[in-house]
């Protein structure tokens, strides 16, 4: 330590002491400063060999700087060069790409084949499920999946279901001469029908609604609702309630008849009656026989016959 350093230390300490108005033992302070300077340089001053605080401080510093601590401070009192191991910057490791995965043990051929087959099976099942689900109908097992795969279609089909349900309610109300309820149900059915896409039978549904509306508007002389054609889901080749072949009112479906209302008077309904609710053939059935029936039947009679 040079005289200039000591002078500077004394001045610094004197200034601080004056500012803080604290009685500080200048000599002890300078002694501690020299001690700390030595410790920082990795030098253990021999005169502190019996000082437990300095020994502990030295062990603590050595533990931090070198990892494992030195047993004897004296043994470690050498030059500061030995303490520079982590003072010096470590050479930056060159980043290398990890190719170890290429050398990893690979699956043998049999296992690889089995894994491939399982993956292929999973893929086929998944694609098949999606394909089937895309044509599923409400109530089917895959209907929930279909709702996910094609939400718009599912929404449309569900609206169609709801519309027909309201329509059935409206017909039932009309049969029991409850016109107000019938109109309300019909309006509800119309609202649902608006949500149906064209490709899902919107036009047919509207025709059904129009027929019932006409009947409600003109209960006496309206066009015969004669078993809404779409309500006769006779499969092709099955006996249809053809007016020309059976003009008798008892053989033809009543105006308010539905497949579920009088199954004995109509051909056996297929399982999915509602989905096959209308067929082109039935929609094009001539309305003329209905007129004949209208002359001989009244809505009141419809109720009784049904």
């Amino acid at each position: 330590m040079t005289n200039a350093d000591e002078t500077q230390r004394s001045m610094d300490v004197s200034n601080v002491s004056a500012m803080e108005e604290v009685d500080i033992d200048d000599l002890a302070l300078l002694r501690d400063d020299v001690l700390i300077d030595a410790l920082a340089k990795g030098v253990f001053p021999a005169e502190y060999a019996d000082d437990p605080m300095v020994n502990a401080l030295w062990s603590w510093r050595d533990d931090i700087v070198h990892g494992p601590v030195a047993l004897s401070p004296v043994a470690a009192v050498t030059t500061s060069a030995e303490t520079e191991d982590i003072h010096q910057p470590e050479p930056a490791a060159r980043p290398r790409f990890d190719w170890s995965w290429l050398r990893a043990p690979r699956l043998n051929l049999g296992r690889r084949l089995a894994v491939s087959l399982v993956a292929a099976a999973i893929g086929v099942v998944s694609l098949g499920s999606v394909a089937v689900a895309s044509s599923a109908q409400p109530g089917d097992t895959l209907w929930p999946l279909s709702k996910v795969v094609n939400g718009k279609r599912a929404q449309s089909l569900e609206a169609k279901e709801a519309a027909f349900s309201r329509l059935r309610d409206a017909r039932t109300a009309a049969k029991s001469q409850n016109t107000a309820t019938a109109r309300a149900r019909l309006e509800a059915a119309r609202n649902e029908a608006e949500k149906v896409r064209d490709k899902d039978g919107k036009e047919e549904l509207k025709q059904e609604l129009a027929l019932l509306q006409a009947r409600l508007d003109d209960p006496t002389g309206s066009p015969s609702p004669s078993a809404p054609p779409t309500r006769s889901p006779a499969p092709s080749g099955s006996p249809s309630p053809s007016p020309s072949g059976s003009p008798a009112p008892t053989e033809s479906p009543s105006p308010s008849m539905s497949p579920t209302d009088s199954p004995s008077a109509s051909p056996p309904a297929p399982a999915k009656t509602r989905r096959t609710f209308t067929t082109p053939r039935e929609r094009t059935s001539p309305p003329a026989p209905a007129k004949t029936r209208r002359t001989s039947t009244t809505p009141r009679e419809d109720v009784t016959t049904s």
Partner: protein
């Protein structure tokens, strides 16, 4: 340790690193990492199973945080190490907080840690005990006193450099370190009286 020439070099290096120079960033992290490791070891000790694992992990986090904060660094005249120590202090505080939530269960067997070749297990244990005792005593000091001791004794900063880092005068650093050593002596003598 940090002389004026070193400080100028560091300042130039930091300026390049702030501008995104990758080689400067690599060189800078290589220079500050030993300092950060020592600081974290001094603050956290051998917590986490008797090794410096926790402290070294925190040091790694500090280095990453420094690199992340580098674009926001502005040279205000203080040494760059002050910026680094500020980040390190926060990370150490986080580590202390998370240590209070440590759910580790004590294990009756002492883990095997390789002893240095130049000393036996008993000497190793004594040395660790001495170091741990000082770590405990330091934790009883005020924050400023502890930081001065760490920067002066462990980091090897001069009183002037430590003062610049801690925003103190060199004289205040010397007074603080004197008070810290005096307090350590008192604490140690009390401990000795209790154990005697």
């Amino acid at each position: 340790m940090y002389h004026e020439s070193n400080e100028r070099d560091m300042s130039a290096l930091v300026s390049r690193a702030v501008l995104g120079d990758q080689s400067a960033k690599g060189e800078l992290i290589g220079q500050i990492r030993p300092t950060v490791v020592r600081y974290c070891r001094a603050r956290l000790g051998r917590s986490g199973g008797g090794s410096f694992t926790t402290a070294d992990d925190v040091a790694q986090e500090v280095c990453m945080a420094v690199m992340k904060a580098l674009p926001r660094y502005e040279d205000t005249g203080r040494p760059f190490t002050a910026f680094v120590f500020g980040i390190a202090a926060h990370k150490v505080a986080d580590a202390h907080r998370s240590a209070t939530r440590n759910m580790m269960q004590p294990y009756e067997d002492v883990p095997d840690i390789a002893a240095p070749a130049d000393r036996g297990p008993e000497a190793q244990a004594l040395a660790w005990d001495s170091s741990q005792r000082m770590q405990t005593l330091l934790s009883a000091l005020p924050e400023t006193h502890r930081n001065v001791i760490i920067l002066r004794v462990v980091e090897g900063l001069s009183a002037e450099d430590a003062g610049r880092t801690l925003s103190m005068s060199a004289g205040a650093v010397r007074v603080t370190q004197h008070r810290a050593l005096t307090r350590l002596r008192q604490l140690l003598s009390k401990t000795a009286e209790v154990t005697a």
